[in-house]
């Protein structure tokens, strides 16, 4: 495997930390054998791996178990795995939204809490497709700029947007794409003092 390919895999594939470490050690030995040793004047340019690529964060859930279960079911229903592309669950969207909502403004947190509690109370996670379709009926209404008045419909509209964006912007979605820029690549600006 070429170094470039290995690096790409190391950065993009959501593999376990141990596997990364083992492969990395072997690769470093190989690279060390091929390249001259650095001098103490070289400016280092090290290949780094993003934290999300090595495993899931070990944190407490923001949503209560029933809420999280409803969120998982909603994510799976709104954006299932399809045609070789990962769905929202495969893209880790419920866990990501749990994290995102833990830091969100109170109003947004309330919208999610209320919406997920309503879904949980209705048994959304365990009901059949017919029952789910009935609950998700607002998402099959033509879109209007004004938000719907019904709180559950409001939540469903917001959750649909969030679940889609979180999936399409995920590492898993990009890895399943034929183009390297899937999900979007742009200039990131560092903090400027």
């Amino acid at each position: 495997m070429k170094r470039r390919d290995w690096l790409r895999n190391a950065i993009t594939a959501p593999v376990g930390a141990a596997a990364v470490a083992a492969a990395g050690a072997a690769q470093q030995q190989q690279a060390a054998a091929q390249t001259p040793p650095p001098t103490n004047s070289d400016t280092p340019k090290l290949a780094l791996t993003n934290v999300d690529a090595i495993g899931a964060p070990n944190s407490e859930r923001f949503f209560a178990p029933g809420e999280f279960q409803a969120l998982e079911a909603l994510a799976k229903t709104l954006l299932p795995a399809y045609n070789g592309r990962p769905g929202a669950v495969e893209a880790g969207v419920p866990e990501f939204l749990d994290f995102l909502l833990s830091q969100s403004p109170a109003e947004r947190q309330e919208l999610y809490h209320d919406g997920l509690r309503a879904l949980s109370a209705a048994g959304f996670a365990t009901m059949d497709a017919v029952g789910q379709k009935k609950i998700l009926a607002p998402l099959e209404q033509p879109w209007t700029y004004a938000a719907p008045k019904d709180p559950l419909a409001q939540f469903l509209r917001v959750a649909k947007d969030d679940i889609i964006q979180a999936t399409f912007n995920s590492r898993e979605w990009a890895a399943s794409s034929k183009t390297r820029t899937s999900g979007g690549t742009s200039y990131y600006y560092f903090t400027i003092e």
């Binding site: 998402l139 033509p142 879109w143 999900g183």
Partner: protein, 523 residues
């Protein structure tokens, strides 16, 4: 102060940058103070995929309640709202979008470069509302002629009176067939169209087109991270004699001589804030901070799809490109509508409609997104907002920024004239898209909140009457002859055209006036 200078310039964007460019070439020594740092485009940014960002592109929640333009990629470029607070009444949200770095907002602007016309400069003569500018198109045309080549504006000459032609890099690009269909629909409904007029290049900013030339004269000194908090008048003459600023990093306060003249180009609201914080300098008319306005936007007023392009069946050359519809309402004096003035549109072909517009979920949604991939045609309205006395800003003495400078309270709402205009724009856009044979997915007339278009204007308007205006016809304070304000705050009205080209032209004209008056020892 160790540096010798004659003119002190506050701000380095379109207004400040052009003042420096013009004055230094005329041999005038200038000191430029900018509140922000210099962005080093090599050191301060790096290409990243969105999945490598901690929030997957959502950005840190709650960081920018008012800056909808900020993405997780460029969040560090926009002004921190917590360090730089401002206030408004709970039912009058105002989205003040700010950047503090060398070049100001010209490092991020959309580069649309339109001239104003006498429909704006002599607006009162046309429909009786508001005030005329103290200048006409004829006065500003020679300066537009000189600004456009600097910014290498591309466009197509059309002979439209409402958007006068300029010195363009000729845009000879061919239109896609979907755009051709749309243009034909516009023509059949007597709606004018043209190519976009844009400053070209990858940056087209004050930092690469104005400041390097000014520095090359040897007459410019630039000091970043200098937050100007107050201009101090001479007690005897009333003229500006000193400028107080705070170092952004250390928060140390400095006081330096004003030089022979001060040019303020800190952006419309910041310039007004500075004058208000300077003992309401130049406010004998009582209009300082009054007659604020901007341009309202209805983003994606219509989103449509080109049906023949569905399912990836678009032949080569069908999709892509776009253009501009200039104001076409109320050009005739006797036109009877529910609103005065008018609006313009940007339109474009390409992309995929947002998933939220498709009333489906699950596999049907994914299939529909595939079916509609690359088929979208969208339009955005940009409408004229009337400058009203009641739209204003004042200093809120209870709120200060992180450097102790009193903050602004902004009061700006849209009224029936803007609402009626927005509704009309939705109906026309819908008719034009249907006329082109497109399928309309959504239409609405919900305007973004005041300020969000980032075209805040007025508050320090020009005029011939010192009792009704703050500045004279050369952007000079009526009350304080050695202070000029050359940014968007000086606008009397704004039309629907993006304002930057006019700010550049006004600033160039004002700078030449300063140099002439200095030569004549009038300031």
């Amino acid at each position: 102060m160790k540096t010798d200078y004659e003119v002190l310039i506050v701000g380095s964007g379109a207004a400040g940058g052009m003042a420096a460019y013009t004055l230094t070439k005329l041999g005038v020594k200038c000191l430029m103070l900018d509140a922000g740092p210099m962005i080093d485009f090599d050191r301060h940014r790096v290409l990243k995929p969105v999945y490598d960002l901690p929030y997957r592109g959502f950005g840190r929640p709650g960081r920018f309640p008012h800056v909808t333009q900020a993405s997780e990629f460029d969040a560090n470029v926009w002004l921190d709202e917590k360090q730089n607070p401002y206030t408004y009444a709970p039912d009058e949200p105002y989205y003040w979008v700010r950047i503090r770095s060398l070049g100001g907002k010209t490092t991020r602007w959309g580069r649309a470069s339109w001239r104003l016309s006498d429909y704006e400069f002599k607006c009162k003569d046309h429909d009786g509302f508001g005030e005329n500018w103290p200048v006409s198109y004829k006065d500003l045309a020679p300066f537009y002629d000189r600004v456009e080549p600097i910014f290498r504006v591309s466009g197509r000459k059309e002979g439209f009176a409402q958007i006068p032609d300029g010195i363009f890099l000729a845009d000879e690009s061919t239109d896609s067939t979907s755009v051709q269909r749309f243009l034909a629909a516009c023509k059949s409904q007597n709606v004018p169209t043209t190519k976009q007029r844009r400053s070209t290049g990858t940056l087209a900013s004050s930092v690469n087109l104005l400041l390097p030339d000014a520095l090359a004269t040897g007459n410019l000194t630039i000091v970043p991270n200098a937050i100007v908090s107050e201009i101090l008048p001479d007690r005897k003459t009333g003229q500006a004699s000193k400028v107080r600023f705070i170092d952004r990093i250390s928060k140390r306060e400095y006081e330096i001589p004003a030089g022979r003249a001060v040019v303020i180009g800190a952006s419309a609201l910041e310039s007004v804030r500075l004058l208000l914080n300077s003992g309401e300098m130049g406010n004998s008319s009582g209009t300082l901070g009054r007659y604020l306005f901007d341009q309202f936007y209805v983003k994606n007023v219509v989103t449509a799809v080109v049906p023949e392009a569905k399912g990836g069946r678009a032949p080569r050359g069908m999709i892509g490109g776009g253009g501009y519809i200039p104001r076409f309402r109320n050009l005739a004096k006797n036109e009877k509508r529910k609103f005065i003035r008018g609006y313009a549109y940007d339109f474009g072909s390409g992309g995929t409609p947002a998933a939220r517009l498709i009333p489906k979920y699950g596999e049907p949604l994914l299939n529909e997104l595939n079916e509609l991939s690359g088929t979208a045609f969208s339009m955005t309205t940009m409408g004229e907002v009337l400058p009203r006395h009641e739209s204003h800003c004042v200093i809120n003495k209870d709120v200060r920024d992180a450097w102790g400078v009193p903050a602004l309270n902004i009061s700006h709402v849209y009224t029936d004239n803007e609402f009626e205009m927005a509704k009309d724009s939705m109906e026309v856009a819908d008719a034009l898209c249907r006329g082109a044979g497109f399928e309309v997915l959504s239409k609405h007339w919900e305007m973004v909140p005041p300020g969000e278009s980032i075209h805040e204007l007025g508050g320090c308007r020009m005029g011939t009457d010192p009792k009704k205006s703050v500045l004279n016809s050369f952007n000079q304070l009526h009350d304080v002859k050695n202070v000029y304000v050359t940014d968007g705050s000086s606008f009397v009205s704004g039309g629907a055209q993006n304002p930057t080209l006019t700010i550049l032209a006004l600033s160039m004209r004002a700078a030449e006036n300063i140099a002439e008056r200095m030569k004549r020892k009038e300031i």
